[in-house]
Symmetry: none
Subunit: 290 residues, 2 copies
DNA sequence: TGATTTCTGGAATGGCTATTCTATAGCGAA
DNA sequence: TTCGCTATAGAATAGCCATTCCAGAAATCA
């Protein structure tokens, strides 16, 4: 017995949430599969653990109740209830009381001591400001119309370069997942003009460009429009050269910070269009496999 | 019966802690002596009520267990457990997860007649919520460290697939504009493993992946790490397989709406890293033309 | 491969829980 | 005072709770 005890120097159980989190993240405790699953759930949904009962938590984590108890015991607690009380309920207790203090501390330390922190704050602010502005200015009827036009199209061409390219790249991915046929222009293979040549009156194109408007985007958008494709344009000014070709256009003015404009508003609009089109297709199928 | 019913319009039970507090303080509910005592205790020690059992609370409040039940019923709740869950546990939950709740509320309120408008609102909320959450949880020291490591690198490899690809695509563009040498992986040419083969100890790599982690991203990140490149990882869980290869990692949990996760938080982080690295390079040049 | 240990699912169990019930105490009105 | 009513204390109870236990499935090792 003495030998057995000495061969197992039990590490002390984590005393608060951060302790536990660190221990799990750094794999300082090696856990079997199911207990690992419990650990994931616990880190992801700490309030569930704080307030739930063993049965209810087990159901949500898709685990047997006994697994929860074993998890707690593997960490060095006598039972699950102890873990729950000490770590998860303690975390919330502490949080509320120290909330105001943390806030005050934050306010004090907001000196420019950390330049990177200021950068991060700036970009976050720019992003949320852009989104708020678009939220107020976006015309919902135009949005609806754009979605309907795109839903009716056989193929949707996605045209963007440079800074706007990530937006179409995302749309390309999301549309594909939703089973909507698109062609992503601007992948850099140099065959874009030829690709656009396949566009026709039954297709549509989304063109995205901001000042300074990329020449190729303008040219490609015009080519698509000339071939009769319905155009949906996202740009930053009513005077944008893209608008000439399009009946449907959105004005998206992104806030900038340190000369870098946010993409957040354009992204939100893009996601909306993507899902809206997929929804419409689903409710009134017209261009399935054709 | 009609007369009796109309003489007792039962006031709706307070739905959150502030409601209850106001109702009790303003004496809008008149309570008998012992129940008043319970009310005092509840306002003074809300966490006791949130976490305790009827028996334990009763003991601390120097009251009979049944008094607690009667208290809850006097407020309009069917039993004490309901009051406890709705008001006292809800209060703590809200503090921590207000972002998710905002989203849940949004989901419930089938707001404007226009479905597309609801979509747009949802994606905007998801984006701002994601950004706010990251703003609170991001560790600034890690951010600084990541920027320094990347600034020291000769070449920065950008690894991402699918949903995360737009983020690296943006970084690739922005880094290029700032004169930082990068290699964008995942352009779909199929030569990525070979490209990663050029990475070495003097380079760094940024790998971005969220659940479900793309297998190729994991493989490519590992390959880069094996060759000695410094890794900076952006992922959504401490258990992400990417973290194994990296000392520096960011946890970015994006809110989702209709099953589509936002990219806004990851984007803000990406922009911050990009500009921070460029700033560092400018202030202490070390890897100009080599 | 087979032996041995570890892990897991699921049922069994005893204790504790919230709630109800009832006798009685308290209190205002007549 | 006595009546009528409400509020209370405390015991009774049914249900759920955390935990234990064990047979069998996996994993590990030789």
């Amino acid at each position: 017995m003495g030998r057995l005890a000495s061969s197992l120097p039990p590490p002390p159980p984590p005393k608060d949430f951060d302790d536990l989190r660190d221990a799990l993240v750094e794999r300082r405790v090696k856990l079997p599969k199911r207990l690992e699953q419990v650990a994931r759930f616990a880190i992801a949904h700490p309030e569930e653990i704080a307030f739930g009962t063993v049965a209810s938590i087990a159901e949500k984590a898709e685990v047997q109740p006994s697994a929860l108890v074993r998890f707690a015991q593997a960490l060095g607690y006598p039972g699950f209830s102890d873990l729950q009380r000490t770590v998860f309920q303690g975390r919330l207790r502490e949080k509320v009381t120290s909330y105001d203090e943390r806030l005050a501390a934050l306010r004090d330390s907001t000196g420019p001591s950390n330049r990177t922190a200021a950068l991060f704050g700036g970009f976050c602010t720019a992003a949320t400001a852009s989104i708020e502005r678009l939220r107020e200015s976006l015309d919902l009827d135009t949005l609806d119309e754009a979605a309907r036009v795109l839903a009716r199209a056989e193929t949707i061409y996605l045209i963007a370069q440079r800074r706007s390219y990530p937006v179409t790249a995302y749309m390309s991915y999301a549309f594909a997942k939703l089973g909507v046929k698109t062609v992503l222009i601007g992948s850099g293979l140099g065959t874009d003009p030829e690709t656009i040549g396949f566009a026709g009156p039954r297709d549509a194109a989304i063109a995205i460009s901001f000042t300074p408007y990329a020449a190729t985007t303008i040219a490609l958008a015009r080519a698509a429009a000339d071939r009769g494709a319905k155009m949906v344009v996202v740009t930053d000014s009513p005077f944008s050269p893209l608008i000439a070709d399009s009946a449907i256009w959105f004005e998206v003015v992104e806030a900038d910070f340190r000369g870098f404009r946010s993409l957040a508003a354009a992204m939100s609009l893009a996601m909306t269009l993507t899902v809206a089109v997929a929804d419409l297709r689903r409710s009134e199928p017209q261009h399935d496999g054709k």
